[in-house]
């Protein structure tokens, strides 16, 4: 008779961490463990993100423009003659007729005031980024807080915040910006703050609130309450961290919206700034070169840059959407 050996089945436990990893973690202080786990999250999300070529294209464009922004001061300091190439006060003496078409000296030509277009383009990149990111941060900070607070407390606080949001979205966004800028001249920082406040208390707040509502009813919130967590503790330690992916996503869209709004305002000449892409097109318009296809370099590079940077952030946002919302992924 064959020997019947007893085989003890090994239970298959779902391991998130390997044995060695776990040992290492046991010895680290808590804050380091958190850091480590966060880094792993980022690494995994990056893998998901990079699977989608769309996001990579967007990211590529952003890096390209960031590079341009960094390159400009270097060029100004060491390569270019500031008298000629300064984006605001430079003047190109070698050309007789301004605006001059692209040439070896001025790769994108000059504008009606004799300033180098490429230099203007690169110089503005800095402020576009600054504006976009500042506005986005303000929008998302306000939006996330509003959303979380409205969802968590409900009742009259919710109603007030939502009615406020209603009032804000009733206003046509671009038109209001135009009206405000007609009232007092805005510079980039003020514009960023205004955009941030309007978007944060408005549309973004509403969207994040509905997400916060789904988080509020989860078991761990109940657990936290039972364990005696105060309201603010729960909001800041539990709800908001779970809203982060969505917030981050909306930051991308906020940047797009901010850059776009700034471009529109500059185009109408309503902004108190020294140089921006929108302003470049405005200059072309006031000098009468707007509808002239022959002076394409006055409009095409600026318009294209606005478009490219806006769509870059949007593409990144869309790719992030697939990371944040697993149902959209392919199997």
């Amino acid at each position: 008779m064959e020997e019947r050996t007893k085989v003890i089945a090994k239970p298959k436990v779902e391991v998130i961490l390997e044995e060695e990893e776990r040992k290492k973690l046991k010895e680290m202080p808590l804050w380091r463990v958190r850091l480590y786990l966060t880094w792993r999250e980022i690494r995994n999300n990056w893998k998901l993100f990079s699977e989608n070529k769309i996001g990579l294209v967007g990211l590529g464009i952003i890096i390209f423009y960031a590079f341009m922004a960094i390159l400009h001061p270097i060029l100004m300091k060491w390569v270019w003659d500031p008298n000629i190439y300064d984006p605001i006060v430079g003047y190109s003496y070698d050309e007789v007729l301004q605006p001059a078409p692209p040439s070896l000296r001025h790769l994108l030509g000059t504008d009606p005031l004799g300033r180098d277009v490429l230099s203007q383009l690169m110089y503005s990149t800095r402020s576009e980024f600054a504006l976009g990111i500042l506005a986005a941060i303000i929008t998302v900070t306000i939006g996330t807080t509003v959303g979380a607070v409205a969802a968590y407390f409900g009742g009259i606080i919710d109603t007030l915040l939502m009615r406020l949001a209603d009032l804000i979205i009733m206003l046509p966004f671009v038109t209001i910006l135009i009206v405000l800028s007609a009232m007092f001249k805005m510079n980039l920082i003020i514009l960023a703050i205004v955009i941030g406040i309007l978007s944060g208390f408005g549309g973004t707040g509403i969207v994040i609130k509905s997400q916060a509502l789904t988080i509020k009813v989860r078991a761990y919130i109940e657990a936290a309450k039972v364990a005696g967590g105060s309201d603010w503790h729960i909001i800041f330690r539990h709800i908001i961290p779970n809203l982060m992916p969505l917030s981050f996503l909306y930051m991308m869209f906020s940047v797009t919206s901010a850059i776009f709004s700034e471009a529109v305002l500059s185009f109408f000449g309503l902004l108190n700034i020294r140089m921006s892409w929108g302003l470049m097109i405005h200059t072309a318009q006031t000098a009468g070169y707007l509808l002239n296809p022959k002076t394409w370099w006055l409009i095409v590079p600026a318009g294209l840059s606005i478009t490219l940077l806006c769509s870059a952030f949007y593409l990144v946002g869309r790719a992030l959407d697939e990371v944040v919302n697993p149902r959209l992924r392919k199997r």
Binding site: I54, M170, V174, I178, M183, F184, I281, A302, T307, K330
Partner: protein, 383 residues
Amino acid sequence: MLRYILRRLGQIVITLFVFLTLVYFLLEAQPGDYAQTFLSNPKLTKEQREALKAQFGLDKPLWERYLSYMRSLLRGNLGISFEYYPRPVVSIIAERAPRTILLFLTAQISSFLLGFTVGKILAWKRGQTFEYVLTISGVTLYTVFTPWFGLMMIWIFAYTLGLFPIGKFVTPTLWRGAPVDANYVFIRILLSAFISSLVLFLVLLATRRLNLALRRGLRGAGVLIILAGLLAYWLPSGITRYALDILYHLILPVMTLTLINFAGMMLLTRNSMLETMREDFVMAARAKGLPEGMIRDKHVARNAMLPVITSFIFSIAFVLDGGVITETIFSWPGMGLTLLEAALSQDIPMVMGGLVFTGTLALFAHLIADITYAYLDPRIRYT
């Protein structure tokens, strides 16, 4: 449901009221005295100036001015424009609004149709390159700098190819000596469009219950009747070529706006479809042996379109917003342009009037969106 609508209408009135109060005081808070600017118009005589002061109550304190404004608002009087004195604000809105509505409603509907159809197909056939190309081009178009893109379109289609007019909404030479003015034609166009859509909708509703062959036949007949009706009205009216001229000027801006806006709808539809496709009833539909097209349209799209339609209706409220840019580029004299001018020239009554217009539109669009959503999704019933 009726109670819900009534309640919402009540809320709309309150919100509108709060909104207007806020705006009024916001405008008053501006640096600089708009009254002075207005009154310093050299064309006015001293008596006129005093009369105007009294009429507008410009010498009265803020409180009183506010109250009298609100009172006349309730009577439907939005005041008299400073810039276009002595035309009342309401008449200016009545003149400009139809132009904006025609342009943007057409554009919104067409971008919705394009975006929805493409998004539907995109979600259904998930090919690698196909999806990639459409998404990138869609997004690029969506985030394109509108003035720039508008100009490009004009350059290509109007300047270079000469296919469409460069701007404005009428060809001045054609209209010289015309029996009617542009607004007359505008209103007629809007009305015919509205009535034909209504009739079409009713036909679709009435033929729902019938079997396939009969349904198709009746609907085809309905469409033919509507076309016949339109022809019967327009051909003998004598203003057809004016209407056609307006429509001719409409094509390029609508094309531009559609290209810019369709991607938002497309991506939203695609996402919504993808989420719906994972539902169990989709597999059940396939198990029932239904043809692919029917599963895609009747089952998936019908469920997926809920958030898309809501977004669409909601976006109608913002018709005015994007309007400013487009109307400037295409020189289309609508509400957007008017509001911009008013803001820049401190024509306060006009600004207030314009904002009343947008605000009301936004609130009603919101309400209609909610009602439509309830109609489309039987699970949602308001008490």
